[in-house]
């Protein structure tokens, strides 16, 4: 920004602020907000990395290279790689049916889709135990056929799908609703097939919304703890995701290793926030251009 630009913003500021609080009140409020956020957000985030590097970079790397840690990372990646695409497909499909069509029970369906957000993660795990566990409905049948879901990887994936279920759909439904269906109808009138309409008209319009949903969905899928904790057998090296591995290390008082592994998730959080801000900025500029 050049000097003139700086002056311009200053000028606008002074004229826009004809009705605002006195400078002192303004700075007190800003200070109070920043202290609150600093205490509750910034300090804990900084603590993750500080604790991870407490014993030096060597110890940090060693904790990450440990076979159990690597196994946890692998399982977390697998879980996200399965649950995110499934929920992405669901999100797009459900948003198409809900946003582009009107039918009775539509708003109830939206509420149902949002349901997993209002269920405690512990309950999200519990319901799969009740379904597939040894004492559950399908438990005996599964045991007879030697299929293990609970305390095994499939259970972890199922619970993860449940807790991340609404992310993409809830971004896309309002977005596609606000876009209406004029463009799709125009494409149909011009002779496009249903799929052509979707690929060439709808998808380009919602791609940032999809990305937004996927970023949030992925962050939760990789970081879910409560639900996964219930269905995982907590077996080191085989049914531990990164968050569960962090828990085990922490409970063994191996703080440096726990925070080292946790710092991976901390970085994931930072990447998520940056990506999210970027996409929000993109969506705003796209809107601004229209």
């Amino acid at each position: 920004m050049n000097v003139a630009g700086v002056l311009t913003t200053k000028k606008e500021l002074s004229s826009r602020n004809e009705l605002t609080e006195p400078l002192l009140v303004r700075w007190l409020l800003i200070a109070a907000a920043l202290v609150f956020l600093g205490l509750f957000l910034l300090v804990p985030l900084a603590a993750v990395f500080s604790q991870a590097l407490e014993k030096g970079f060597e110890a940090y790397l060693a904790a990450l290279k440990e076979p159990d840690a690597l196994a946890a990372i692998r399982l977390t990646l697998i879980t996200a790689a399965i649950s995110v695409p499934l929920n992405l497909i669901f999100g797009v499909v459900s948003a198409w049916s809900i946003a582009k069509f009107d039918f009775p029970g539509r708003s109830f369906l939206i509420t149902l889709i949002d349901l997993p957000f209002s269920v405690s993660p512990v309950i999200s795990g519990l319901i799969y135990v009740l379904l597939f566990g040894l004492q559950g409905w399908l438990g005996p049948w599964l045991q007879a056929h030697d299929i293990k879901i609970i305390f095994a990887v499939p259970g972890i994936i199922l619970a993860t799908i449940f807790v991340t279920f609404p992310f993409v759909a809830r971004e896309l439904i309002p977005l596609m609703e606000s876009q209406g269906k004029d463009e799709e109808e125009a494409a149909r009138v011009l002779g496009a097939s249903g799929l052509q309409t979707f690929w060439r008209v709808t998808l380009p319009n919602i791609r940032w919304g999809i990305l937004y949903g996927v970023i949030l969905c992925n962050a939760r899928a990789m970081g879910e703890f409560g639900a996964v904790s219930v269905v995982s057998g907590h077996v080191r090296g085989s049914t531990n995701t990164i968050p569960l591995h962090v828990e085990i290390l922490y409970n063994e008082y191996n703080y440096v290793a726990a925070f080292a592994v946790a710092s991976l998730l901390g970085m994931l959080a930072i990447v998520t926030l940056v990506a999210k801000s970027f996409v929000e900025w993109r969506i705003r500029t796209v809107k601004g251009e229209e």
Partner: protein
């Protein structure tokens, strides 16, 4: 397409709605109904005994009490943060705005261990509080801190858009009519913000009630004192008391449905003056 779908020229309604409902049933509704059916197999007496045992009642008190308090704290500071972010300019504002979502992005287990270490007697903040006789980690106060952390974005994110869309003319009109800043805030701005504050409060409360990961590390988990209900469910499960766990879970589920309903009502209410 056999029939015309309400004169809609767009295809795929049956297919996409069918898939939506199928997937919804498979992942969400059938598993959730397992909880209901499992609860239904219990006798009424057993159920009541399971959900009203002294240790369970204590856990409700801790969980709901702390969640209520945390949501109240978040309502106050959430409005403050939203106000500051929308109304004022200061260096690093965009960074702060992005940081508000940290509790959504940071996995709960990480939040749990880092809050525990920061607020422990030898931690960064705990060290400062210790001399004043304030213990946060491993006490009910720790539960409150964790709940404030995870519920923080809700009020900010519900109030922020309302503040952004508020017409400047409303304040100008109030000023022309002689109202001072405080009167303008209390009588003109606050009523407009209120539905979104309450919505954020309810969301923050609901989230805190169900929260597990970020709390258990800092809570101390003393039965009757600092044991939250979700932890109690897990404890019962580990003791193979499936019925007991399920009964408590169904109470929690009911509570979250009530919250969900309340939020829906609030949103309807907030639209009553629109138009």
């Amino acid at each position: 397409m056999k029939k015309s779908q309400r004169h809609n020229v767009l295809p795929g309604f049956g297919l996409t709605l069918g898939y939506t409902i199928f997937y919804l049933c498979l992942i969400v509704l059938i598993p959730l109904s397992a909880l209901v059916f499992k609860t239904a197999t219990m006798s009424w007496g057993d159920f009541v005994a399971a959900v009203t045992a002294p240790r369970v009642m204590a856990s409700y008190r801790v969980t709901f009490g702390a969640a209520l308090l945390a949501a109240a704290i978040n309502a106050v500071f959430g409005v403050l943060v939203a106000w500051v972010l929308v109304r004022y300019r200061f260096p690093g504002k965009r960074l702060v705005d992005a940081l508000v979502d940290l509790p959504f992005a940071l996995p709960t287990a990480v939040a749990g261990i880092t809050l525990a270490s920061v607020y422990a007697p030898n931690g960064w903040i705990g060290k400062l509080l210790e001399p004043h006789g304030i213990k946060v980690a491993y006490t009910p106060l720790g539960i409150l801190v964790a709940m404030v952390f995870i519920g923080l974005p809700f009020v900010v994110r519900t109030v922020q858009p309302v503040l952004e869309e508020m017409e400047a003319e409303l304040e100008e009109a109030a000023a022309c009519l002689g109202a001072n800043r405080l009167q303008t805030f209390v009588r003109v701005l606050f009523p407009v913000m209120l539905p979104s504050i309450l919505t954020g409060f309810a969301l923050s409360f609901a989230r805190a009630v169900g929260e597990y990961g970020s709390i258990i590390f800092i809570a101390g988990n003393m039965p009757m004192v600092s044991e939250i209900t979700p932890l109690l469910i897990i404890t019962k499960l580990e003791q193979y008391d499936y019925a007991g766990a399920t009964a408590i879970a169904s109470v929690m589920l009911l509570a979250s449905f009530i919250m969900l309903f309340a939020v829906n009502l609030l949103q309807k209410w907030s639209r009553r003056f629109a138009g």
